[in-house]
């Protein structure tokens, strides 16, 4: 049953891109990019119980790594390969001290790290400073150049599929059970022999790698990057998507990303009509994020996917 649904969703999402208009294709790709980062954040929030308000820092690290390598080496695929690795390496390094923190302290610490990263990027002449990096070459493998939006849509699809498979296997493994135990009670998990520190670091690193991959694909798709591409609000946006979809559910992350992005896009299409003031799209998107976050936190603590699953059958469906 579950396999059938998965295959159906996979087939449907694979069939869509050629049918979409240019602007719809952009939305499709942006959903894919955001979904990768959100799947990672959902793992971190839902399974390891760690709040991060700095997920976009790893998207930025991935994006800048991919762009700089593509520009300086001339092998864009090397950049794409290095993006998740660089993000994961940074997370593993920073995670050792930072993951001693819990709850709101970790939330503020990750937020602070993102502010530091943005400030460093703003002044780094090697990264283009506040203006950013322009003219990032399109992604190519040998002589095959990805220059159509449909190609990037499929690249994003592959990225999302990859993150979901990795997340699924991580969650279903012995490690995943340990993570679930430590999210419920850290002391209890430690007493039962779960290597708490190591698992927390692992899930933090994996979640950063997903965001890094998202950043890499985003860099090649958009073609330019600046510190302004990765504002604090992007991190909050990932939190909104993960919370709305349902924490700790992999499908929920995808669902949340799609629902939030489509809703914001729909409203901004309405808001960009000529009779609306020019600040309307920004106001509407902030309002949508805020209202969705508040309502979900108050009334749907398990998110869309979680609540639907409970309604279907009373079993504890975490995956």
């Amino acid at each position: 049953m579950k396999i059938a649904v998965t295959l159906l969703v996979a087939a449907a999402t694979l069939a869509i891109p050629p049918l979409l208009s240019a602007s719809q294709l952009t939305i499709y790709i942006l959903i894919g990019v955001a979904a990768m980062a959100t799947v990672g954040l959902s793992l971190l929030l839902g399974y390891a119980g760690q709040v991060s308000l700095g997920q976009a820092s790893f998207t930025a690290i991935g994006g800048y790594t991919a762009a700089l390598l593509a520009i300086h080496t001339g092998y864009p695929w090397l950049g794409l390969l290095a993006a998740p690795i660089a993000a994961a390496a940074c997370a593993a390094l920073i995670g050792v001290p930072i993951l001693r923190l819990r709850g709101h302290q970790l939330a503020f610490a990750t937020l602070a790290l993102q502010l530091i990263l943005l400030s460093v990027l703003d002044q780094a002449s090697w990264a283009g400073g506040a203006i950013g990096l322009q003219g990032i070459p399109r992604l190519s493998f040998g002589s095959m150049v990805l220059d159509s939006d449909v190609a990037y849509a499929y690249l994003a699809w592959v990225g999302v599929a990859l993150t979901m498979v990795v997340a699924r296997n991580l969650v279903g493994s012995r490690t995943g059970r340990g993570l679930r135990a430590l999210a419920t009670s850290e002391i209890g998990a430690a007493a039962s022999g779960v290597p708490v520190g190591g698992y927390r670091l692992l899930v933090f690193t994996v979640s950063a790698a997903f965001a890094g991959l998202a950043g890499g694909i985003y860099a090649f798709y958009v073609g330019y990057l600046s510190p302004g591409s990765f504002p604090v609000l992007l991190s909050i946006q990932y939190v909104v998507m993960a919370v709305v979809g349902g924490l700790g559910t992999i499908w929920g992350a995808l669902l949340g990303t799609a629902v939030v992005t489509l809703l914001v896009q729909l409203l901004s299409t309405l808001a960009t009509r000529p009779d609306m003031p020019d600040y309307a799209p920004a106001v509407l998107s902030y309002a949508v994020y805020a209202v969705l976050l508040v309502i979900t936190a108050l009334f749907l603590p398990r998110g869309l996917a979680g609540s639907a699953a409970t309604r279907g059958r009373k079993a504890d469906t975490w995956t």
């Binding site: 937020l111 502010l115 919370v243 805020a290 209202v291």
Partner: protein, 285 residues
Amino acid sequence: MGALLQYLVTGVGIGCGYALVGSGLVVIHRVTRVVNFAQGAFAVVAALTVSTLLTAGLPHGAAESLAVLLAGVVGLITGAVAIGRPGTTPQAALVVTLGLGVFAYAVEILAWGDQPRSFGGVPGSVPLGDARLQSHYLLIIGVTAVVLAGLALLFARTDVGRALTATAANPYAARVVGIGVTRMGLIAFALGGMLGGLAGVLLTPVHQVSFDSDVVLVVNGFAAAILGNLSRPVLTLVGGLLLGVVEVLVAGYLNSSYQTEVALVFMLAVLIVRAGRHPAAVEAS
């Protein structure tokens, strides 16, 4: 020597602003156990309101007072949404305040646009030796001293203050002796709103404010408050002053582009050292 004195006064002035934001966080966290991410938004709303009221012709003083009161109302509304529904956990309330902070962006852009704003403070400066101390920083320091002293008296000497302290110490026991715990939480949020609003009103003449200034304000306020683990007002003041002075000295003697990093790294260091010292102190609240 004159330069150092000037830097110190500037740093203490800015630090007082951080301490006010931090005190708001402390008041709310002590009573409700909620870490209020919307704390920076209170400051921004108050500051933007003052700019409108001054343009409308209201005199200084009246405009600032009205804006601080408005921030208190905003705080009350935030509290009502965050803790008004029975059974909302502090974690859920934290996410709610994060959402309300983003909602404030929408309202602020709608009302004031997305350009930064500022307004005049106390003009002139006071000579002291060979230094000239800007009057506005002295005003910030004076007002903060009076307000924080008043807050200490409120908590120690009035019935409301004692009820707030009782709720902070043990909500269950407070309820048993007839204190409305939710009402106390709402009072704490209103107080927090006014403290945040005051910070915004005082800091804006020396540092212009735009709708997204709240992130920096709340992070600095949190950094100040974390020295006292979000529950010790005096340590929050010390933290704020330390942060402000370090920031200004780094900007003055090293490089102004590093001042944010220094403050944030300082906060991270305090957090991590503290967590290392009490490894068993798993965040229970």
